[in-house]
Symmetry: C2
Subunit: 245 residues, 2 copies
């Protein structure tokens, strides 16, 4: 089995470039860390190379795609404070669901934890796709990946121009709901629809006007006292209500 101990090894240098969005895009790859995430990635056939720390005993050592690396190499590639034991290089794949009935669109969500949590929730509630505007934080950012807890492998996530995508959704007979605190109806009063798409916005400024203008109806979550909700919480409530209520 191949062992890499030096951080100046060419492969290590190429993986180090996956630190940035640009590097990930060029390579079509991203890094993940930890056993649970690697297992999820394997389950969905997305692992190119597994890196296991020298001296560690682990079933991954029996796999063809595994290499042994020194702790120094892992330290070089990992962005967490704790010592990484294992990492993997995964492929970026943009899949499209054959038939979409429930879609979430995110207009400029910036916080990695919020995006990761929304991905997790969407998978739980059986959504078919997440569409990101180009202003969103990168899905393959390591903090986003970590906070999805592996759910990113279980759902189609694509980046699109949202007004264009909303036109397509409407052509497919999908009702598109915006979210807004002005000129919106309460969740309970919405026009119900079999197939629906939901747009959530940026943490500070919400959904942009040019996107809201394309939506069929704008929704607002019922509240007793005005306090803006965290976007991952608002997304959870709206996704749940559209799906089960």
């Amino acid at each position: 089995m191949k062992t890499i101990t030096s951080t100046s090894n060419e492969l290590v240098k190429s993986w180090k470039k996956l630190d940035t969005k640009k590097g990930r895009k060029e390579a079509g790859e991203f890094l993940i860390e930890g056993e649970h995430l690697i297992e999820e990635a394997l389950r969905y056939g997305r692992v190119k190379t597994i890196l296991v720390r020298e001296g560690l005993e682990h079933p991954f050592l029996k796999r063809n795609e595994t290499m042994i690396v020194s702790q120094k190499v892992l330290d070089q590639l990992s962005s967490t404070v704790s010592k990484a034991q294992m990492m993997a290089v995964c492929s970026i794949v943009e899949t499209n669901p054959e038939n979409r009935e429930r879609v979430v669109l995110l207009d400029g969500v910036q916080d990695p934890g919020n995006l990761g949590t929304i991905v997790r929730t969407a998978v739980s509630f059986g959504y078919d796709q997440i569409v990101l505007s180009k202003e969103c934080v990168d899905l393959y950012n390591e903090k986003v990946v970590r906070s999805t807890q592996g759910a990113l492998f279980a759902i189609s996530v694509v980046t699109r121009d949202l007004p264009e995508e909303i036109k397509l959704l409407k052509e497919e007979g999908i009702m598109v709901y915006g979210t807004s605190l002005h000129e919106a109806v309460f969740m309970k009063q919405r026009k119900k629809a079999e197939k629906s798409a939901l747009v959530l916005g940026n943490e500070g400024s919400g959904v942009s006007e040019r996107v809201l203008n394309e939506c069929d109806q704008n929704l607002m979550i019922e509240m007793d006292q005005f306090e803006s909700l965290n976007v991952a919480v608002a997304a959870g409530i709206a996704m749940y209500t559209l799906r089960y209520q």
Copy 2:
């Protein structure tokens, strides 16, 4: 107006102790940072002392409780990376609502961001009180305070033994719902009640057995695919559904 420039000033030393839960408990005080949080604290009469950076022009300078301090003093007291411009010493007050109809109980919620977000959501949805088990992260931890965005001043938050508190809630005619992934009914199938309390659990282990045993009914959020939800998202969905659906 009093000006403090030295970090060895006795007042600064006493405020520095508010860094720890023990120090905050002993003093009955905690620190907050930034204009928005200070304004919220003032609105609820919770500010003892405002600290404004030397040279900064701000309406707070006209207030009796304001002192001017050097950047060094603020750096000593602040735990954020960015340079603090203003901070305040606030009083810890445990209030009890006169009449409670909607209560959230948290059994060992550990993540500061999750607790802060749950506090924010509870205020939005008109909940009367949040009851924490003693295993929860401290409400006055600076990360929790920041993530409440000031909502902590708008609601009663107390620490109690949860099984004892649940007995009291039931005596008050409040239906107490646990949350669990086993032996639970879906939200939609719950026995509805006018007054309700909802128990959410630790990020890893959920609500403990000894607490679940005291609940009237255990609820589970409907899901298409099994993925555990983030506790702040689950709390948001359950609080919203009990209140408005």
